[in-house]
Every structure is written in C-alpha cells, then in structure tokens.
C-alpha cells in the first residue's frame, strides 16, 4: 500500500459549475489510450489546462462537478493530468464516490469558487479539512475526509483495499 500525503500545494485552475463527466472525457476519446485522453481533459472550458497543467496543481470547480454519466474514467483522466487534488463547492454523488474509488484526492468547500481566482496559489489538506488561498490569505476549515476514505485512497480504491488489507472490516466504523 502506498503512502498517502494528504496535503497538496499548487496553482489553482478554476472552472465553473455543472461540468459533466463528458467534458472530462469526451465520448469520442473514451476508448483511446490514457495518454491521448489526457490531452483533452476540460479543453472545452480552458484549452490551456491540458497543455499547461503541472504536477500538484489544484482544480477548483463550481457545484455539481462531475454530473451526468458515472463513468469512473472521468476521474481517472483528471488524476492522469497530474493534479494533486480536486476541490469543488459540491461534487455530483457518483463523481465523489469515483474519486475515492480510483484514488483522486478531493475536498468539498461550499464557497470554493468564491474565494479563488484562476492562477492563485493554494494549499489543501484533506486529512485536516484545511484550505488556504496563499495569494489572498483566505482560509477555510471543513470536515476532513474520514480515515477510512484516506486509507482507501492510499490503497488505490475499494477492490485493492479489500484484497490488500483483510482486516479493513474492523476499521471503517471506528
């Protein structure tokens, strides 16, 4: 099981509300290799994003992020861009589950898009539920991700966790 460092620091890429999974992976790229898919992630919203995103950058998107199809490849593609984590005012339910299923750290901040601008420098700690915009100094404290979900992230998803850690049954409800 890999070590999870639940703290991320990087450039903010800001996106609007209601972005569907189709904008993360368009239907016509769904069956392409990931190194091709990743060239087109969110390009309709910001063509610079897939070209310029750097490892550890942080995506901040408005509410209902990841709506529409529950396809897990959408979260995989966003992770494959190299971002450290994704923050949204509110995720669609299936996208939220898929983030943990495939190992993409995520955090909900109810007013996230009100307190960042594209290009700001952000610090996010999902284990502490801590968010800080280093550019503006604005901070938020929210409920941290549960220890169970953090372990699932570190394991790389639910099936891996089930296989790698036979004792996990005793841990989630503590």
């Amino acid at each position: 099981m890999g070590e999870l460092v639940p703290r991320y620091e990087g450039r903010c890429w800001k996106f609007p509300a209601n972005i569907p999974t189709d904008a993360l992976v368009k239907s016509r790229y769904v069956f392409d290799p990931m190194d091709e898919i990743v060239k087109h992630v969110l390009e309709d919203y910001n063509p610079r994003f897939p070209l310029e995103v750097q490892p550890g950058d942080i995506v901040v998107a408005g509410h209902h992020f990841g709506q529409s199809s529950g396809r897990a490849i959408a979260a995989k593609a966003l992770k494959a861009t190299g971002i450290g984590c994704v923050v949204s005012n509110a995720f669609s339910r299936t996208f939220f589950r898929n983030c943990f299923e495939i190992g993409l750290p995520s955090l909900e901040i109810p007013d996230a898009t009100d307190i960042v601008e594209d290009g700001d420098h952000l610090v996010v700690d999902i284990a502490q539920g801590f968010f800080r915009n280093e550019t503006s100094g604005v901070e938020r404290h929210v409920a941290p991700a549960s220890p169970f979900l953090l372990r699932m992230l570190a394991a790389g998803g639910l099936i891996n966790l089930t296989q790698s850690d036979p004792d996990w049954a005793s841990t989630a409800n503590t």
């Binding site: 209601n18 529409s68 589950r97 299923e101 089930t162 989630a172 409800n173």
Partner: protein, 422 residues
C-alpha cells in the same frame, strides 16, 4: 433532537448509533442488485481470485437492460451470469424474461421497509416507495459487497417534499415529479435523502410512489422515501412478504430537514421535460402541437400496470396517428400478464401499439432508436441527447396520459382534450 429515516436506516445497516449527516460509515446492505452488466462484477470477482461470498442470498441479478440478447457478445455475458448463478447457488436470479430489475425485486418481495439496498443502477432510489433506502453504486462496489458484505456510505442530509393534492384530471405523479425536478434543477437534491410527505402522497398506490422515488434521482438524490403505511403493508403482503418480519423506519417528528419544499399540485398542468435535460421542464401548454415520430411507454418510471391502464383508457376505441410509432414495453412479466388478462394489451394493440417484451427496452437504447431529426415522446426518466439513437434526435418526457393522447393526435397533446373528465 430527532433522527431522519436515512440516519436510522444507516444506523440499522451499520450497527453504529449516533450517526450525523456527512459522516462516512460502513453499512451492510440487505440486498445487492446487479443488472445486465452483472458480468462486469463477475469478471472483477474472478480477478480477485474468486473469494468466498459474504452472503449469496443477498445477491440479486436481473438481466433487464438488453433482453433478449441482441448480439453474441451479450448472449455470452448472460451465459456467464447464469454459470455464476449455478456455480455459486444464487437464488435471486431473474433472466431475460422477467422485466426491469427494480420492479421485479419489489414484486418478488425482496424489498422491505427499513432495508438498505444497493444496485448498479442510478434509479435504485425507487426502493423508497416501500420505505427502503435504495441507492445506486458502481460495479466494483457491488463486487466488493459480494465479498465483504458491506459498502461505505456517506450519511445524507434530508429534504422533505410536501405535495398538496388532489391533482386535476389528466395530471399524474409524473407531472408532479417533472415540476419538482424543474424547480430543484438536476443537482438540487444532490446527496440528499428526499422524503415525500402529505395527504396526497399518503393517498397514492405503491406503484405511484415508485414513480416519485424513481424520478427523485433526476434531481440528484442519494435516495428517496415515502413513509410506509397501510398501503405499503398491503403491497408487501400481496407480494409474499411475511409482515411479522417487517420493521419500518420513519423520521422522528422533530427530525431536522435541511430543506422543506411545498409543491401545490391542485392547479398543476401536465409537465413536459424538453430536450436535452430532465430539468428542462415546461408546462404542456408551451409545447402543445409539437410533432412526434415515436411515442414510448416504458421504463421503471412509468410502465407499471396502472400506467398501462391509464394509456389504455385514452387509447380505447382510438387509433394512433398515421406515421407515429407507439412502442409499449411493460415494466415486468407480471405486469404484462395482468394487462393481458384484463384486455389492456388487446386495447393497446388495436390502437396500433407495438408491444415489446418486458424490460428496459428503448429507455436503455435496446430497440426504438430514432433517425436524425426525429422526435420521441417518452414516459421514461431521461432525455439526454443521443440516448435513443441519433445524436441529432430529440426526446421529450411526459406522463403516460400525455403519451397516449399524443400518440392519437401525432403531436404533443393535453390529455384532457382527448378524454372528457369522468
């Protein structure tokens, strides 16, 4: 402070008390449903090394989305599922002749009040019609539940929807839900447990409550819920459930609802979801006269017995318009048999309907495709672009009454103009 239904149901399924919304908990569902894509779950289970199953009697499989098989690939998927059934002794297995999973499970007494039920289908919210907590999950999540018996759940906030009735003639639960989805928008209830309350809701049949709970998903709900009552017990007893084993859960009178919405149905017009989003809802008067090429009466939202009976009421003695295809896909084999015995099937055929085998049918893209530029009026729950054939076609959503009336005229029609109030 009182507890909501969702908190109580997850406390029961997890064995953990004092849950609060937002908390993550491992819960043990009473039933894990997988549909036509059961083969995906089996393949994952094989990759895991075919571990022992937690409780094979909590596994339910229904071959509903593509039935009968249209390709040899799908026939192979079905065969893999049957082989798994035989090898592992899965008793709740329903083959291609059974109908739509959600309706089939309720008809076979597998859904009980207070149960947590997970399914590989977003419309698993429908189980709230019998007072259960039903919610959609992924294929690998179902596989994990087969093996470990449990799945992580986030405790939802709750929303109370109070509907004032009675509804005008020609207006049905589907119209109430389309109005609600239009008002809330497609994410207005995201991650909420949506409870339906009020004297109108209490007056509904279990079948009508299924329409409410099914469509709550289109506003983003995690689950939906109608408080179980005498009607619930009647349905359960009729479908073979031992009522002594039933322990319903309801929200406490002082439970905290994060949102309360009141919807006045007494002056509601029929509602239509226009292309290409379910929350793109208008009163029928704004789209009356829109030409339709195909009318589809089907899906887990609106192809139950009462839906077919309503359609037959409008179609009896009438003939569908020239150039219109009317496709009727009963939700289940039991519903189809009852509709056949009561003469409803004959009425629909005489009006010009094409009756297909029970199942998901055209709603899931199995038959009933459209060519470029065509329009379907559908009683289903989704109208996303390209869902029924061409990307250049359009889907409108309505009640079965609007669908039947529009099949007769060939254009979107207010049903009250086809049949005088009785």
């Amino acid at each position: 402070m009182g507890k909501t239904f969702a908190v109580k149901a997850l406390e029961r399924a997890s064995g953990v008390t004092g849950l609060v919304p937002g908390q993550i908990v491992d819960a043990y569902p009473a039933l894990y449903m997988s549909h036509t894509a059961t083969w995906r779950c089996i393949k994952t289970w094989e990759r895991m090394g075919e571990p022992e199953l937690f409780d094979k009697d909590r596994i339910a499989m229904v071959m509903d989305h593509i039935s009968p098989a249209q390709t040899s690939k799908i026939a192979g998927d079905h065969r893999l599922s049957r082989e798994f059934r035989d090898k592992m002794g899965i008793k709740h297995f329903f083959d291609v002749n059974a109908g739509i999973a959600h309706v089939v499970l309720m008809e076979h007494g597998l859904v009980k009040p207070g149960d947590l039920i997970i399914g590989t289908d977003s419309h698993s919210t429908i189980y709230g019609a019998l007072g259960a907590l039903g919610t959609g999950v992924g294929f690998s999540e179902i596989t994990a539940a087969w093996v470990t018996g449990k799945l992580w759940m986030k405790v939802p906030q709750s929303m109370k929807v109070i509907v004032q009735g009675p509804l005008p003639e020609g207006v049905y639960p589907k119209d109430v839900m389309l109005k609600l989805i239009g008002d809330l928008t497609a994410d207005g209830a995201t991650y909420y447990s949506v409870e339906f309350h009020g004297s109108w809701v209490e007056s509904l049949s279990t079948s009508e409550r299924m329409t409410l709970c099914n469509l709550a998903m289109e506003a983003g709900a995690k689950n939906a819920f109608v408080p179980p009552d005498a009607e619930t017990m009647r349905y359960l007893a009729e479908h073979g459930v031992d009522l002594d084993t039933v322990e319903p859960l309801v929200s406490d009178p002082d439970a905290v609802f994060d949102r309360v919405i009141e919807l006045d149905g007494t002056a509601l017009e029929p509602q239509i979801a226009v292309p290409h989003n379910v929350d793109n809802v208008v009163p029928i008067s704004q789209v009356v006269g829109t030409k339709v090429d195909q009318v589809f009466i089907g899906s887990c939202a609106n192809a139950k017995y009462d839906d077919l009976a309503i359609a037959a009421r409008y179609l009896k003695g009438n003939r569908i318009a020239d150039g219109v295809r009317l496709v009727v896909t009963p939700a289940s084999a039991d519903i189809m048999a009852k509709a056949a015995a009561d003469g409803i099937v004959t009425t629909l055929i005489q009006a010009g309907a094409l009756i297909t085998n029970p199942g998901c049918g055209a709603c899931a893209g199995s038959g009933g495709a459209m060519a470029d530029g065509e329009v379907t009026l559908s009683t289903a729950n989704r109208n996303f672009r390209g869902r029924m054939g061409s990307y250049e076609s359009s889907i409108y959503l309505s009640s079965p009454a609007v669908a039947a009336a529009s099949a007769i005229t060939g254009v979107i029609t207010d049903p009250s103009r086809v049949l005088a109030p009785v």
